[in-house]
Amino acid sequence: MSFDPKNNDLLLTPKDIAKRIAKEIPDGSTVNLGIGIPTLVANYVDPLKGILFMAENGILGTGPKPKEGEEDLNYINASREPVIPIKGASIFDHAEAFSMIRGGHIDIAILGALQVSENGDLANWTIPGEARGGIGGAMDLAKGVKEVYAVMKHITKDGMLKFLKKCSYPLTAKKVVTKIFTDMALIEITEKGPILKEIATGLNQELIEEFSEPKLIIPNQTSFISKEK
C-alpha cells in the first residue's frame, strides 16, 4: 500500500490522541501521566468526570499549568513542568508516592511506548545495546497500577512495526498494557487477543492490519477516531 506514514495528514496528531484518551478514562479514576503525549491528556479531560492526576514526584491532584510568569518552581509534575495543585490536592515525598503506585492505589498509568506486544508486554525505556534513556518510574508504574494505557506512533519513522507479537526491545513489564492508543488506531488487549476497537478517520482496517504484526480481532463495528482539522 502506498501509504507514507511519515507525513500523512490522516494520522492523528498528539492532540487528537490525547483527546481520545481523555474520553476513555472512566469517571473518578486516579491517573498517572507519563512524559510526552500523556501529559497533554490532562488538558482534555472533562472536569465533571472527577478524575485525579497523580505525579510520582509526590503530588495527588495536579491541576492546570500556571500562567507565564506565575510559575512556582516548587510545584512541578514528573515531566518537570510547573503545575498548580487543585483544591483537595495532597503532597508527599517519593517514598510515599511510590508506595501509592506500587500498592495498587492508582487506576491508570498512561505511558509512552516504544513497543507493545499482543499480550500486553510493554517496552518503553531503552533500545538494546544503546546507552540511552533510563528506567525512571516506568517499571513501578507498569506493575503497580491497575491498567496501563500505552501511547505510541503506530510504526517508527523508518517504517518498523511497534505493535508486535513479541517485543524485541528490553521489557518494562510483561502483560500490563490494556489499551494502545496510536496515531492510527485504538487497540484493546484481551485474553482472546488484540481487538481493533477504533481507527483514525480516513484510514482503514487493512492498513492497521498491515502495520500490526499480531493478528487483530475485528469487531462487527469499528468506530472512527475523530480528527481536528
Partner: protein, 235 residues
Amino acid sequence: MQKKKNILKNKIVSSSLEAVSEIKDGSTVSIGGFGGIGIPENLLDALLKHDVQDLTIVSNHAGQGEQGLSALIKQKKVKKLICSYAFHKNSYIFRDLFLSKEIELEQVPQGTLAERLRAGGAGIPAFYTKTAVDTDFEKGKETRIFSGEKTVLEFALQTDFALIKCHQADNLGNLTYKGTAGNFNPVMAKAAKITIAETELLLKTGEIEPESVQTPSIYVNKIVVGENIELRSEK
C-alpha cells in the same frame, strides 16, 4: 495486591450505621486507635448494631472495659483478633473468650504490626526484620541472616475494611489527625480495600493545605461525621 474501588460518588455518608453496612460475615476489619485515643468510637458503636459475624479484627489491643471492641467481642462477632497487646488487665472480656477457645489470637509485635500494614498498602508482599528473633514469636517463621544478623520473614497484612478516626476530613477524603491521635489510623487506611473514616470536623475540599494532608484522599472511601463526639470506647 489489593485494588481499591474507584469511588467517584460523594464519599460522605449520613450515619455510622450506613458507613459500616457493607461489612460482611468473614470480613477482615482494622480498627485505629492507641492508648484510648484515635478510636473510631461511633463506627464501633454502629458495628455493634450491624448484623455480622466471623470478623477478623486488626487492632493494637484486645479491647478494654465493656465498650467498643470489647462489646463487639462480647457479642461473639469476632472470630479472630490480630493485635500487639492481648492481655491488658482490663481486657477481661477478650481474655475469658480466649481461654474458653471461642476466639483466636494472633499476637504481633507492635512495630511488626505497623510495618505489615504499611507493606500491605505499599505493594510489598513480605519483608525481613530482626524484631522477634530468638523469641517464641519466631516459631514457625522463616529466618534468614543478613550481614550476620538473624531476621524473620514477615508478611504484608491487608484488610477488607479499615475503620479509622481523624480530626478533619474534607469532602474529597483528605484527612488530618490531631497530636498522637493519628497512631495506627494512617497506615490502616493504606492497607484496606475500603477505608471508612469517622471525622470530628468536615471541611470543604481545599480547606486543608496540600502539605498538611496526612492521609491523601485516595486512601479514603467513606467519611462520616461521628454522631457523638464525646463517645469514648475506653476510659
